[in-house]
């Protein structure tokens, strides 16, 4: 099955061993979208890597930006000002909503619930418009910088978000009415693709797939970063670990993410969004154009890159699909020595044969849909 199949959004190939329509074994072939992320990062400066991280999981590129920037900041040993941290939380949660809507919408439209697919794409469009007004781009945003964010929120940001959330909540209500008592949907999702708690843990799964089995592991709660420990939110857990649990977990996480964004916007402090450290931050444009020191400073940062002290570190954030970790090694120069991304959906594809063994060929579609494999992240 694959590598170019309508249900495998993203190029991936399943080598199946079948008995009639029953799947006996499945060997997953990934790598069709491999473009050498790690190697390209080693050629770029630390700042130039940020656009590359956009292209990992392009459904939640803001989370990738935040994860990478925070990993580098951890190595440098700086902490961003409070307002920047709040903004980073807000944008990551918006990206998470975006990611979950993409996954759930696509998965349900593949099962014939095409109305739900359209509703969720409409809800996604609301998020996309906010992201566009904030960053100027829709998918590949490059919004977060090392030591801050590109610019502050616009004055009408809260109003836009409130309005969008009102529409999203209504759309999700409609989807709920369309799906939760829908015989076809539940028959195809429930008791399909079951993975037990022990298997999920031994296969290193994270994110909604692990939480659907009932394991309470979310990086936001387990290793709180930014201001997540000050916010009030729940981690939805499943019981059986089947596709339906994964679906419900994701839908409930959307609601939790909206709660987080609302709380963060309420408490948003005033202040700068950049650290004040001339070693890592570009000077203001006025200084660049009017003074030689400013121009030199600008030139040095752009041409040589910022200098990150030698060392290595690992930093993980909770991405849309699970733990998104960055392991970075610096040799003290302006370019990274090694950047490794822990891709959650690559690891989930490693456990796919466990989820699908013993089910039908048609069950591959919802199971694969609920993993939300994004080629850019899986194959790097």
């Amino acid at each position: 099955m694959g590598p170019s199949h309508p249900a495998t959004h993203g190029t991936i190939k399943f080598n199946l061993k079948l008995e009639g329509e029953k799947v006996l074994d499945c060997d997953v072939e990934v790598g069709f979208l491999h473009r050498g992320f790690d190697k390209s990062c080693e050629q770029a400066t630390w700042t130039q890597v940020i656009p590359y991280t956009d292209r990992l999981n392009y459904a939640s590129s803001l989370i990738n930006n935040v994860g990478y920037a925070m990993a580098v900041e951890k190595l440098i040993g700086v902490e961003t000002p409070p307002r920047c941290q709040y903004i980073r939380v807000i944008v990551s949660e918006l990206a998470r909503i975006f990611d979950h809507l993409t996954c759930c919408g696509m998965a349900s439209s593949e099962l014939g619930a095409i109305t739900v697919g359209f509703y969720m794409i409409e809800a996604r469009e609301m998020i996309m418009r906010i992201v566009e007004s904030l960053t100027g781009a829709r998918l590949t945003v490059t919004y977060v910088r090392i030591g801050g964010v590109k610019h502050d929120l616009s004055p009408d940001f809260s109003a836009r978000v409130a309005q969008a959330f009102k529409i999203i909540r209504k759309l999700l209500d409609d989807c709920d009415r369309l799906l939760s008592r829908n015989r076809i949907f539940i028959d195809r999702m429930s008791n399909v693709g079951i993975i037990s708690q022990e298997t999920a843990l031994s296969y290193c799964l994270t994110g909604p797939i692990l939480r659907a089995t009932g394991v309470n592991y979310d990086v936001r709660k387990a290793f709180p970063y930014l201001i997540y420990d000050q916010l009030n939110f729940d981690i939805p857990l499943g019981t059986k670990g089947d596709n339906y649990d994964r679906f419900v977990c994701r839908i409930q996480e959307i609601e939790q993410s909206m709660r987080i964004v609302e709380q963060a916007l309420e408490r948003l402090p005033v202040g700068p969004v950049w650290i004040e450290d001339p070693r890592f931050v570009l000077p203001e444009k006025e200084k660049v154009y009017n003074s030689i020191e400013g121009l030199m400073h600008h030139f040095k940062i752009i041409m040589e890159g910022i200098h990150v002290p030698p060392g290595e570190t690992y930093f993980a954030v909770e991405g849309g699909n699970g733990e998104l970790g960055f392991y970075i090694v610096s040799d003290g120069g302006g370019r990274p020595y090694r950047i490794r991304v822990r891709p959650p959906c690559f690891i989930a594809m490693g456990a796919f044969h466990q989820m699908i063994k013993g089910y039908m060929v048609a069950d591959i579609v919802p199971t694969f849909g609920m993993i939300n494999m994004i080629g850019g992240e899986c194959d790097r």
Binding site: G31, L201, S202, Y203, Y217, Y314, A316, G325, Y337, G350
Partner: protein, 187 residues
């Protein structure tokens, strides 16, 4: 570390001779392990009640070409879900024999991660059930994430591969034969 560390002290007791170095950096606990008896060390880290690093988060490698001896380092990220602690385990691997023991018997999820390290760095994993290239294709020459692999090196095109296996299973094959026989008789 001078002060008693509730995680590092039991590790020191348990793994004693295997430890090359143990320290904290940027708030992370880092453990340098010898590659001899690696699987047993990890089994101890995983199954000892006081340690309980039961979740393997990531496996990767770093190539310190002309910077460090031994050349490679395989890096494991472990998590203790109970204690909410992370541990980074680094295992130096020499260039002339790049091989470490596979962790697939302990965590089956290590399968894909180790295949990726083999694919991109050429570090073999002993007792790995299925060590094939994963992101690249079988005919690819060399290991691209090694520092001595040039960035702009082009690889030759490979001829089209024959698809193995069959799209028809035995029963339908038999049905086909039977139909042919019946139709043949009638004709």
């Amino acid at each position: 570390m001078a002060e008693a560390n509730p995680i590092l002290e039991p590790i020191k007791e348990k793994l004693g001779a295997q430890i090359l170095e143990i320290f904290q950096v940027h708030g992370d606990d880092v453990l340098m392990l010898a590659r001899e008896g690696l699987r047993e060390s990890f089994r101890a880290l995983k199954e000892d009640k006081r340690l309980g690093f039961d979740f393997l988060s990531d496996i990767t490698a770093v190539d310190y070409w002309k910077k460090k001896e031994p050349r490679f380092e395989v890096v494991y990220q472990l998590v203790s879900l109970q204690r909410r602690r992370r541990l980074r385990v680094r295992v130096p691997v020499p260039e002339n024999d790049p091989a470490v023991e596979s962790l697939t018997p302990l965590w089956p999820g290590a399968n894909f991660l180790e295949r990726e390290v083999w694919d991109l760095f050429g570090i073999r994993f002993i007792d790995h059930p299925d060590l094939r290239r994963i992101l690249l294709y079988e005919e690819f020459q060399g290991y691209p994430l090694r520092k001595d692999y040039p960035v702009n090196l082009c690889q030759p095109r490979v001829p089209e591969r024959k698809v193995e296996g069959t799209f028809v299973d035995e029963r339908s094959q038999n049905k086909l034969l039977r139909l042919k026989r019946e139709l043949g008789n009638r004709a």
